[in-house]
Amino acid sequence: MPALATFELTKDYAIGFWRKRPYRALHGLTLEIAPGEVFGFLGPNGAGKTTTLKLLMQLVFPTSGRAEILGRPLGDLSVKRRIGYLPEHPYFYDYLTAEELLTYFAGLFGYSGADRRARASRLLDEVGIGAERRMQLRKFSKGMLQRVGIAQAILNDPELVIFDEPMSGLDPLGRRDVRSLILRLRDRGCTVFFSSHVLSDAEALCDRVAILARGRLAAMGRLTDMLPFRARGWELVVAGVRDDTVAALGNRVRRAVRLSEGHYLLDLPPDSLPERLVGELTAGGASLTSLNPIRQTLEEFFVEHVTAPEAAGAPRGLEPRAGRRP
């Protein structure tokens, strides 16, 4: 049984002064997330990510299609006990303290007084704002509110968490903390479904990702399938090499960039056997600075799929294009 599944989920909003004009924010989204998976939901602004998450949380209602969470239809109260949700740019009650807010939310799950306080205390420590537990939320910075938002989302030890832009408003340390938290949640067996603009986070955390563009699913799959391990070339940096030696390499290098006197960056084709070239150059007196494989990044993959004309058409093959493979 998938942790989360959507079936042709579609959402139209009525826009215009008389609300007569329909605007399709989400076109027939079908996806499935396995238990224990960390799933990234990527897409540019206005792609329909937040609409999808709001549909799952029943903050908006679908025009057509359906979805299931933990095998139950949306709106089932028993499911809400087993999931957590962090909205985008969370905002809470100005005059409550962080501890009171979490105690309040814990009460809605039916936890007893002692359990409520213990959970609030533990989670505020876990998200790094334990020292500010008795400060009113109106005095919190955006990043601190984001941490409170994350704490309230995992208050009930959920089986599935849905995070809408969890890194938003966080400084580099905060982002590192949230990344570790997501990994800890995964280690506990929790399924994590999060939307993000930050591709490096998705690359570091996700088992699978889906890319949404203009309300349509543009691509979905495992990162290892999307971004092949095989290198598209090599980037070799050498020092102490003579200019005429580089010129003599001819078509063995795709591009040579002179960084400084005797210091070159060489772009090698994938089948160039870089170890042999390194041997030849070092035998001639050069020294190796670095040698790195060139692989397609998630950012390149994302840009390719989001800007592709098909992104505006019907959902297409979920595999990366064969033509881009080395």
């Binding site: 903050l59 908006v60 969370p90 009650y93 409550l96 939310f105």
Partner: protein, 268 residues
């Protein structure tokens, strides 16, 4: 039920920390205390003036609390998106709405009690040391328990106003909700005139419209017994019971409509 009560307690807790509330209560108490000075300017009517001004201040500031905090219950919560985290918890939307309503009514009960207590303190100070002969010219005793009847009916009236504010805030912006609630409050004090108007007009369509509106709009004038209490005219418990029943039915209907609107609302 438990979740609803928990939401109500939280609304109360947040409301009593709101500086707007403190300011309103402070000014109400200041006005009640100032009525003592104004009472000094009148000959033999001081107790009556203090009661009149005191009850008026309680009514006006109670109205401000009901409207300004009432509209914030839902519309501000939606505007600031704090409702997103709340609705992700295992609660129904109707529980959120009813819990918020009960929380504000609880806030009103506490605040009106404080204002009524302040009025009794001023009246006690005023009547302290007054000879029984001098007190005999008053229409009603200074510490008349009937003041509590006026305060109770005011609370019933404000519970309707709160339900109106809540209803508008389920689909409208805070500013518009406040304007419409104040508008209905004013109209609500003239529904009897609307009924009389229906009897006077020649056009049957206009009469039907006026009569229909007079039944649909809240009749808030019936809750105003200030003049009776101040002049020592008795207010029957039967009358109070009927007025409270009317308030309960009206509030229940408004909450039911609010729940219907709120349950299908998209939070974009």
């Amino acid at each position: 039920m438990k979740a609803t009560a928990w939401i109500a307690i939280n609304v109360f807790r947040e409301s009593v920390r709101d500086k707007v509330l403190y300011n309103l209560v402070f000014f109400a108490i200041l006005l009640i205390a100032a009525s003592y000075l104004i009472g000094q300017l009148t000959a033999g009517q001081d107790v009556k003036i203090i009661k009149d001004l005191g009850l008026a201040a309680t009514s006006i500031f109670g109205l401000f609390i009901a409207v300004f905090i009432g509209i914030g219950l839902v519309s501000k919560e939606v505007e600031r998106r704090s409702v997103y985290s709340l609705l992700a918890k295992p609660i129904h939307r109707y529980q959120l709405l009813i819990g918020k309503y009960c929380g504000l009514v609880l806030t009103l009960v506490v605040n009106i009690s404080i204002m009524a207590a302040a009025l009794y303190v001023v009246l006690a100070y005023m009547s302290w040391g007054v000879s029984p002969a001098a007190a005999r010219i008053w229409d009603a005793p200074a510490l008349d328990p009937a003041l509590l009847k006026a305060a109770s009916l005011l609370l019933a009236e404000l519970s309707i106003v709160t339900a109106i504010a809540l209803f508008f805030s389920t689909f409208s912006t805070p500013m518009l909700s406040a304007a419409m609630t104040f508008g209905l409050y004013i109209v609500g004090h003239f529904t009897n005139d609307l009924r009389n108007f229906a009897d006077l007009v020649d056009s049957p369509a206009a009469a039907r419209l006026a009569r229909g509106l007079s039944w649909a709009l809240p009749n808030l004038a019936q809750f105003d017994v200030r003049a009776d209490v101040v002049h020592g005219v008795p207010v029957a418990f039967g009358y109070m019971g009927l007025a409270c029943l009317y308030a309960a039915v009206y509030v229940a209907m408004l909450l039911a409509i609010s729940v219907l609107v709120f349950s299908r609302r998209d939070f974009k």
